[in-house]
Amino acid sequence: MTNPSNSAATSVAIALAGSGGAGIMTAGNMLLEAAASAGYYALMTRSSGPQIRGGEAAAMLRIATHPVECMPAGFDLLAAVDWENVHRFGAEIPLGAGGLVLGDEAEGAPPAVFTASGAAIAALPLAAIARGIPGGRPNMVLLGLVGALLGLPEDAMHEAVSRTLGKRPAALEPSLAALAAGRSAAGSLQPFTPLAPPPGSAAGRWLITGNEAAGLGALQGGVRFVAAYPITPATEMLEWLSPSLESVGGVLVQAEDELASINMAIGASYGGVPSLTATSGPGLALMLESLGLAVASETPIVVVDIMRVGPSTGIPTKSEQGDLDIALHGLHGDAPHLVLAPNGVGDALATTQWAVTLAESLQCPAIVLSDQFLGQARAVIDRPAAGASPAARDVAAAAAEGDAPYRRYALTDSGISPMAIPGTAGVTYTADGLEHGERGTPSSQFTDHAAQLDKRLRKLADHDYGERWADLEGEGDLAVITFGSCTGPLREALALAYERGLAVRLVSLRLLAPAQPARLAAALAGVRKALVLEQNHSGQLLRHLKSSFDLPVPLASLRKPGGQQFNAAEILRHVVEWSAA
């Protein structure tokens, strides 16, 4: 509870846990939906054991009276149906000092890792209560209990359960009974600080994951062709896109591998249809050669990389910001392209939409760096702001006989040359990954090479990216520069710092390449020193800032590898120390 008084909390963090098959994830989702419809903001992430199915599971939720983008340093409530292997989540579910650990009487003491913090312990006969209801399940008893402890309205809970199980009446009734039983059992517990009243109604808010938001952004941007190969944690984005694309007149092709997906997307885009693929690190690595082809042939294409822990297979289910290097520099030769990163679940929509727009108008590939946290987190958010206008490719008109021959790669001032779309008469050409002259004919002349390199750089460098390139917040002579999913906890940390009288600016870069050194320098005007916050081992953002921005301020680094998200308190502690140093 961020509210230390005993009255009501503006933010509560709850973890539900238990062994596989106990329905923990389902209960978590119901709790999230109940909170949402009761008018709260909320965020849910998940974790599970290594088993494909039936391993231990945890649903981690934060419910608040204000938008939330990260988990807190300490959980207020851990509620488990059993303790089988739940200790494995020790690092992920740190209990706050004032926290409560709630379990089943019959399961014995909770693992020490949770109680070491001094959290209170409570136990109830969950399974026994469930057994008392034909078809009743402990997870529903637990859910009823937790809802009651949090002070969530009974009808909101009821509705959330009914919505999920509505189609299975055989399951619905016992579940509702168990829910009610849990709710009444709550009375026997020590009072728990309930949530403060909700900040208005749910109307106008969305319940969405980052992966869904990115998918929707792609469609809003005009994408109508997607080819992809399944990979965690990008699969859900594809699974959302597949039927959605179909309904808006597009198509998703499941490719044989990532080499095929990127090339299918390139082929479709060459045909004039805005195209996208989504993957994660290992898949992105396989796409690099063909991304270079998109650069050289000037074919628009968007690749969404939902980053997970690397290197290699790494930890597929955990988040890391370790693909910045490969996204910026993974192409062979000099191959300017776009790299963008959403910095919140909702922002995944606008940023992906913007990526499509930019790729289309600049005729080059755009990589969108989302991550497992943003992608799989499910959040109640305010309706996202409208994104950039949809794709506008500069298209060559049909030519008649006698017109000058079409120059696909004409050396225009802007660097952008109108692109002929197959089917258009008089402007046929061959797109080529070989270096070429203006008409596209292969050339090994130094002058042609230099001219085309200049053109391809120019079109990116000279474009006006407007205000979206970064989110700039706050004032002061200190700044923290970050990107992606570190933004949420940073924002919260800086709000806390401000409360404590420490004013620090937040800079969250949305456009990572081409680098915007002048803009960033302007944003840092008056700043004495800056801290670079990122989630990876080697300081990839720090290196990027050093190599491509020539900033006038000294940079310090705050980073840790993936597998464990930053929280606001942790950042705050570092910022305070650094500000004093």
Partner: protein, 274 residues
Amino acid sequence: MIDMTLTPAHYKSDVKPVWCPGCGDFGVLNALAKALAKLALRPEDVAVVSGIGCSSRIPAYTSAYGFHGVHGRALAVGTGLKVARPDLTVVVTGGDGDGYSIGGNHFLHACRRNVDLTYIVMDNRVYGMTKGQPSPTTEADWTSKLMPQGTGLGEIKPMAIALAAGANFIARGFTGDPNGLADLIVSAVEHPGFSFVEVLSPCVTFRPEQREWKKMVRGHALAPAADSVEAATRIFADDGMNLGVLYAGTRRPFAPPIGRAQRTPTDLERRFAL
């Protein structure tokens, strides 16, 4: 729309081929132009897609739309293009190295996926462009700098693989017979689904002995089987010199609907609204 008759010459561009005089690929270009003329397709409604290799230079020599991609990925590019733009006629072209070595997986899956496009492989049993290394169709005992003792490996049989992987139309042509080849290409383009045309196309520079192929091929030796078991028996016993159509199947092409919107993206937002 266009009234004038399109002759084969209309399908050639003004770009000069880099091919060695005598190279079989000239005959393929000629046959392709003839086939497109017979099909009376407008150049702008045709896209010729390729990877990298001598043979893969062909798109720029046609007056159609062309895409000269990276090594081995032509079928993927062609697939994306055709699925996104079903109105176009897509012809994917390339060499034995491009198609069967680095591109082998896309070959397998293009056969299986059965998108309505035509794949023409100019098989010279060598990597021409990189100066003469063995390809998957090279004879085991053919020696080269890289493999001074020969590969010691059996050649793959692309037509058998195409059949096993589900290609819907399978034929073999010879570049020395551009007219016969043009007919095969016409049939391949007209046949629904994935059509595979293997073309014996000599590399006179690295495999001059292939000049003899013209004496070895047997025209019209293959007759189309509609039954894959029958085709299999035939192709497993084949010596590679029989020309004609091996197989013409009836599998439904993969052509997911595109362009038929029932909703707008904004409609989809409703799914997330609370």
